[in-house]
């Protein structure tokens, strides 16, 4: 007897299918990352290895753009780590859906990215097959488009002549918008902008971004 609200349990392939409409975004994002990595002198191999091991677009982009702006490796690392700390919170929210032993959970948890996480919760509760299926498709797209981007980037004389620097700013803006809900997030973002603007003329490259992270301490206010 099937109750009216019952529906078949999703499979991993349903997760892959759910992620297909999103594919152009991560693809262009990965392509851009490859191009920027070439421009910043990171090198194609390191860029692809980073996509395969970090698999977190915004942080990778942040790290490489800090290097591109003349920042130190330390500043680039800090910017990326601050950005990725949100994955601790995200992974806690889906901790209970991962089956199996420690190593399997360690491996499958790496498929958590913003998009796979958001898709997996669409039905109102988090579903493991959707997260893993979507994560797998996004992973292949991400690593593949990074590799393609390094080829394109190597062939481009001057990416900024094509306005790519402005496109990257809009990329960060589009990524920020979903997080800018509520007064506290807006206040923290405004403070971060002020810190960055104030420090840019006086601090070495990359430092203003890292210093702006202090704005998240507004979260300690009650």
């Amino acid at each position: 007897m099937v109750t009216p609200e019952a529906r078949p349990a999703p499979r991993v392939r349903d997760g892959v299918r759910a992620a297909i409409p999103l594919a152009p975004g991560p693809f262009v994002f990965g392509l851009s990352f490859g191009v920027l990595a070439e421009a910043a002198g990171v090198g194609a191999v390191a860029a692809v290895v980073m996509s395969a091991t970090t698999f977190a677009g915004a942080a990778q982009f942040a790290a490489v753009s800090v290097l591109d702006a003349g920042g130190t490796a330390l500043a680039a690392i800090m910017a990326a780590v601050f950005l990725n700390a949100r994955y601790a919170a995200i992974s806690v929210s889906v901790a209970s859906i991962f089956p199996g032993g420690r190593f399997r959970r360690l491996a499958e948890s790496q498929l958590i990215v913003d998009e796979s996480w958001a898709l997996s919760g669409r039905s109102g509760r988090f579903e493991w097959p959707i997260l893993v299926g979507a994560g797998l498709l996004l992973y292949v797209l991400w690593v593949g488009s990074t590799a393609l981007g390094t080829v394109v980037g190597g062939a481009l004389e001057d990416p900024n002549a094509l306005g790519l620097d402005a496109a990257f700013a809009v990329l960060f803006l589009a990524l920020a918008v979903p997080y800018l809900r509520g007064r506290r997030a807006l206040q923290a973002a405004a403070l971060a902008a002020v810190i960055t603007l104030a420090l840019t003329p006086i601090a070495p490259g990359g430092v203003p971004i890292v210093a702006a992270a202090a704005a998240c301490l507004l979260g300690l206010r009650r």
Partner: protein, 102 residues
């Protein structure tokens, strides 16, 4: 070059640990509320800082150039709910045109 590989390794390892925090290390436990509210603000804060440096960042100074009209056009597109990729294209085209005409 070595610095780049250190960056790749450190960011890679920390990201693996962050993503595994819930499923492997914390089990079913939640983050403390105050930690959670700070962590929640990290993404909007860092992304906003990146928008600023990517738009007006220069070599040790604020630089107002052809990126401004492009980012402005892209921002309007994002505000009008244009998807990310077309919004990026709009920004790139406006900035490239502005550079070409300058």
């Amino acid at each position: 070059m070595t610095e780049v590989w250190i960056l790749v390794a450190v960011v890679g390892v920390t990201t693996v640990l962050f993503k595994a925090a819930g499923p492997v290390f914390l089990g079913g436990r939640a983050l403390p509320a105050r930690v959670q509210s700070v962590v929640d603000l990290l993404a909007p804060v860092m992304l906003t800082a990146l928008v600023v440096t990517q738009t007006v960042g220069g070599d040790g100074e604020l630089t107002f150039d052809a990126r401004i009209p492009g980012v402005a056009a892209g921002a309007v597109a994002v505000w009008k709910r244009v998807p990310m990729v077309p919004a990026m294209v709009i920004a790139a085209v406006v900035t490239a045109l502005a550079r070409h005409l300058a």
